[in-house]
């Protein structure tokens, strides 16, 4: 398998947030990382995106230690959409999306025809084509999130790591995003996303990984993971599991 962690501990300031996690990401799926706040799901994602260095253990990409792979080469394999992004001054939307091509361009960052085709395509997929000439600093939170998503997609990697991508988006754009992720998945991409909406994860993802206090509690298909006991144990939530009348996937209703 391509992406896996081995006895991985990672955290901040000598304090482990993720504790000795062994995980193999199933390839070709949409995977959701779930858990209460502070459970370490974002930290685990960042470790898999080599933003954070392990305190113990390793992350492997195609059997090799992630941190031993040339960073430009790895940037052609794994892309990360962080949870929060600074607002760059004086940068147009089309320039920001073009930055996603950086792992492929030369030292001056010149964009060629093939790059431009991908940039245009991703701007269209995320519905931001008409924003192309606007400054990123002038956009709303939801628009900016889509611009950032387009930039991450322009990186054109087989693996996509997203940290709460639906934050700041209104409901219709959230749904569009989940559909877009499925479309990308059908093109062969593996997508790992941190989500806080359990029902959204159950409906749109193939494989759920549930974390609590830095450890993986359970993982598997939405049907096998989403149980009353799990919700009680992990989220301290009294809830019932029902079938979504439209998607036929499980969903939880809080009592």
């Amino acid at each position: 398998m391509s992406l896996s962690t081995h006895n991985l501990s990672v955290g901040y300031h000598d304090k482990a947030i993720v504790k000795q996690v062994d995980l193999t990401i199933p390839e070709g799926r949409i995977i959701a990382l779930l858990g209460p706040n502070g459970c370490g799901k974002s930290t685990l994602l960042k470790a898999m995106a080599r933003i954070l260095s392990p305190m113990e253990g390793q992350v492997h990409w195609q059997g090799k230690n992630l941190h031993s792979i040339a960073s430009k080469k790895l940037a052609q394999q794994l892309a990360l959409l962080p949870q929060t992004q600074p607002i760059p001054e004086g940068i147009k939307v089309k320039d920001l999306v073009a930055y996603g091509r950086s792992p492929y361009t030369g030292f001056w960052g010149r964009i060629n025809k093939d790059d431009q085709v991908i940039i245009d395509k991703m701007m269209e997929e995320t519905g931001i084509t008409e924003l192309a000439d606007q400054l990123v600093s002038e956009l709303s939170g939801g628009q900016r999130q889509r611009v950032w998503l387009a930039m991450t997609l322009a990186q054109d990697t087989p693996y996509l790591l997203l940290d709460e991508p639906t934050t700041y988006m209104d409901l219709s754009h959230q749904v569009e995003l989940m559909h877009l992720l499925r479309k990308l998945n059908l093109q062969g991409k593996t997508i790992i996303t941190v989500l806080h909406d359990i029902n959204q994860a159950a409906r749109y993802c193939d494989h759920l990984i549930v974390m609590k206090e830095g450890e993986i509690i359970t993982q598997g298909s939405p049907e096998s993971v989403l149980t009353q006991t799990m919700l009680k144990n992990v989220f301290s939530l009294d809830a019932q599991i029902h079938q979504d009348p439209i998607a036929k996937t499980p969903m939880c209703v809080v009592e």
């Binding site: 960042k46 995106a49 080599r50 933003i51 960073s71 430009k72 080469k73 790895l74 940037a75 052609q76 794994l78 892309a79 990360l80 962080p82 929060t84 992004q85 600074p86 760059p88 001054e89 004086g90 940068i91 147009k92 320039d95 920001l96 930055y99 996603g100 950086s102 792992p103 361009t105 030292f107 001056w108 960052g109 950032w148 930039m151 991450t152 990186q155 790591l161």
Partner: protein, 318 residues
């Protein structure tokens, strides 16, 4: 935006260069300037030996200081950051004044190296006080406080060693007075830093997106930060060694340029050098012609514009 600004900036630079050659204690008509480059001409000394090298020096120093400011603002992601605001310029100045006061007979050619040591110590002191992840305001206030401290140390040195005061005084506010071909040749090797700075344009764009995105796009964030700051310190030190700390140029020039051409560093870095050159040429022209033959230091002119600009930025930062 960028394509329109560039020719205008170049034109302004050329115009100011000619104006700097024409005006001063004595005015030289436009058509006599070119004759001034010929040995034996009546204006040879004024044009070739005095005004021309000084104008070139103003352009280079302005460009290098602006570039240093853009590099620092680029990696610290902080609109208030620049070598002068962070105390790096005054640290270099203090080291240089110290050197000139206590070793009055020493070779002046060592000055850039001495200034470099001073600015490195100033940069490390700031780093040590603030850490690598401190807030915009904390960094700016600490830097300004340190700059004031270095400035008062310079004052102290001059009180203790009044004999050397003339030499040091020229330095304090940053001046191009009496600078010529010698100083220009001292600065030349440091121009090598410029291509290295331009080489960083692409990663600087990406670090603007935050460390997480930058790393994900294949940038080594910490290495880039170190390289940029090292180049900025080198540029600053070499300029300060020759003209003294010329305040606020490194802060104002990149800002104005970002408003003009946007934030892509492939355009921003070359443009900010043009803007820095224009600003210092203008400051020196005004300083020389406001009440001839008395000269004001160019550093005072940049401070008159720069200080309010800094305050405005400070008030705007939340």
């Amino acid at each position: 935006m960028a394509t329109r600004s560039l020719p205008i900036l170049l034109l302004a630079l050329l115009g100011l260069l000619v104006a700097n050659l024409m005006f001063g204690a004595v005015s030289i008509p436009f058509k006599s300037i070119f004759e001034g480059f010929q040995v034996g001409n009546a204006n040879y000394f004024t044009v070739h030996e005095y005004r021309f090298p000084r104008a070139i020096l103003a352009m280079l120093v302005g460009a290098m200081m602006a570039l240093a400011g853009a590099l620092v603002q680029g990696v610290i992601r902080n609109p208030l950051a620049s070598p002068d605001v962070l105390g790096v310029s005054h640290g270099a100045g203090l080291a240089a004044v110290f050197y000139m006061t206590f070793f009055p007979d020493a070779d002046i050619r060592w000055l850039p190296a001495v200034a470099l040591i001073g600015s490195l110590i100033a940069a490390l002191t700031l780093w040590w006080l603030c850490g690598s992840h401190s807030s915009t305001i904390k960094l700016a206030i600490t830097g300004v406080a340190l700059a004031a401290l270095y400035a008062s140390c310079i004052d102290f040195l001059m009180l203790v060693k009044p004999l050397e005061i003339n030499n040091a005084l020229l330095w304090l506010t940053g001046s191009l007075w009496g600078r010529g071909w010698n100083q220009l040749s001292m600065l030349l090797p440091w121009l090598l830093l410029i291509p290295f700075a331009l080489w960083l344009a692409k990663p600087l764009n990406l670090i603007h997106l935050g460390d997480d995105s930058a790393i994900s796009l294949g940038i080594k964030a910490n290495k880039l930060r170190l390289a940029s700051l090292a180049i900025a310190v080198g540029l600053t030190a070499s300029c300060v060694a020759i003209c003294g700390p010329i305040g606020f140029l490194g802060l104002v020039a990149p800002h104005l340029t970002r408003k003009l051409v946007g934030g892509r560093h492939q355009i921003l870095l070359p443009s900010t050098m043009l803007v820095g050159a224009i600003l210092l040429l203008l400051a020196d022209l005004v300083a020389r012609t406001i009440d001839p033959p008395i000269e004001l230091p160019a550093g005072i002119m940049t401070a008159i514009i720069g200080a309010p600009y800094f305050l405005w930025l400070l008030l705007r930062t939340k």
